[in-house]
Symmetry: C2
Subunit: 262 residues, 2 copies
């Protein structure tokens, strides 16, 4: 049996500075968890990815210091080591730091590097989960992610890797029995379509693309896996988007859904 932190220890750590790694969800501010909202409202310092919606950042108190990090068009992105250093510095100064990341912090969020830095520096932290993009987009347009019997697995994967399009075990992904939810897949659409078709996926497999899911400018496209590249091109999809392979939206959802059939 290993360490059990007492409540007193936890309180002491909080006074010494504390980092909440908070998932901001898919974009709609109402999709923050209550816990995430409270952490944000109590923050002294908010270290936020530039991709997080302004309506969510606006929930931080007026007195909080907001530090933007991450990627922005036409500007160099903040190196990960720099982000880690900021978190450690602000926590050591005794602040309640919220590190706000899109979606869920533990899903494709590079949380590991930040948590490792906090651990190495002896800074206490908590992780507040968020609605990850796949689940937020699926709910917004009523895409059933699993189905009894026929689809027993949901696979979240990235289309993009540091060195270009990501490689995966395509033959396994191409077999029926699972829904794929591909993050950061728009730029790699030709790669994804070619690899899945080469691996033997049924070309009629349902495809749904949700761009800017849960936001007012949400766009939904449906077709078949063999239409992926054509749809992305014709509708000028730039992302952020989630590409679902294996499911179509149910049609009676009350949310204003724009469906453009291929």
């Amino acid at each position: 049996m290993a360490r059990v932190a007492t409540l007193v220890e936890l309180e002491e750590r909080k006074r010494a500075g504390f980092v909440s790694l908070v998932g901001a969800g898919p974009g709609d501010p109402e999709l923050l968890t209550v816990k995430a909202l409270k952490a944000l409202q109590n923050a002294d310092v908010v270290v936020v990815d530039r991709l997080v919606a302004p309506t969510i950042r606006a929930l931080a108190p007026a007195g909080a210091r907001v530090i933007e990090v991450g990627k922005a068009p036409g500007r160099p992105s903040t190196p990960q080591a720099r982000i880690c250093a900021i978190l450690v510095r602000e926590a050591r100064a005794g602040h309640r730091v919220v590190r706000l990341k899109g979606g869920d912090p533990l899903v494709f969020g590079r949380a590991v590097e930040e948590l490792a830095a906090l651990t190495a520096a002896g800074v206490a932290f908590e992780i507040v989960p968020g609605i990850t993009a796949a689940l937020g987009c699926a709910a917004a347009v009523a895409v059933p992610l699993t189905g009894r019997g026929e689809r027993r697995e949901l696979v979240l994967l990235t289309g993009h890797a540091t060195d270009g399009a990501a490689e995966h075990d395509w033959p396994a992904l191409a077999r029926p029995g699972r829904t794929l939810a591909i993050y950061m897949g728009v730029g790699a659409a030709p790669h994804i379509q070619a690899r899945l078709l080469d691996a033997g996926i049924d070309p009629q497999t349902p495809l749904t693309i949700v761009e800017n899911g849960t936001l007012p400018r949400q766009k939904v496209l449906t077709g078949r896996i063999a239409d992926l590249v054509a749809l992305v091109g014709r509708h000028r999809i730039r992302g952020p988007a989630v590409i679902f392979i294996g499911a179509h939206p149910l049609r009676a959802a009350a949310a204003p859904v724009l469906v453009e059939a291929a």
Copy 2:
């Protein structure tokens, strides 16, 4: 281009009765989304799975009618057709109905049957996503679900099927490069361990079991995949639990985590 519902149409549908299919998250009431909390607080009728924590049900208004459905020890579970009929009946009576399900409604939640019934009956609905168990448990005990380069996929799967232990593409699941998060896997632990080892998984692959994740009685066990059955037996794990294969918790999380090494 297909149907776009106008705001007026949406308002009319709401007056005519409306179903919000709401994810209750993993257990901690603070892990409801703001949108889910509002839907619950405005409900006339709440149709709730028996597994949803009493502290979450207590968020419904005092005047709301609560209808319990689903599984309970020693009692027959409510047939799915009966649940669908209740939803349609209550919506047609003009009520704001919240259908509250553990976790996220679209992940292993049998939402499809309920949405199909609502669609067939012409009842309008919305889906409010929830923190699914894998993400809630991972955040509670700091299990990194993806890692740059080495783990580019997160697979959510069920250990249980209607007819017993669920079958999967075990050789694909056994290869490195992904984290598995297994739902309803405690009863099928011997099956899961045997199938993964037979399929050639590295016996040293990290294993983390989180029982009652995010609740005060949360329990965390860590070991290797080859220890799965022994850990479940020795610590009398009964579930609800998520079994993570491929990752261990980071140690500095501030949440009171009980880690028992194998």
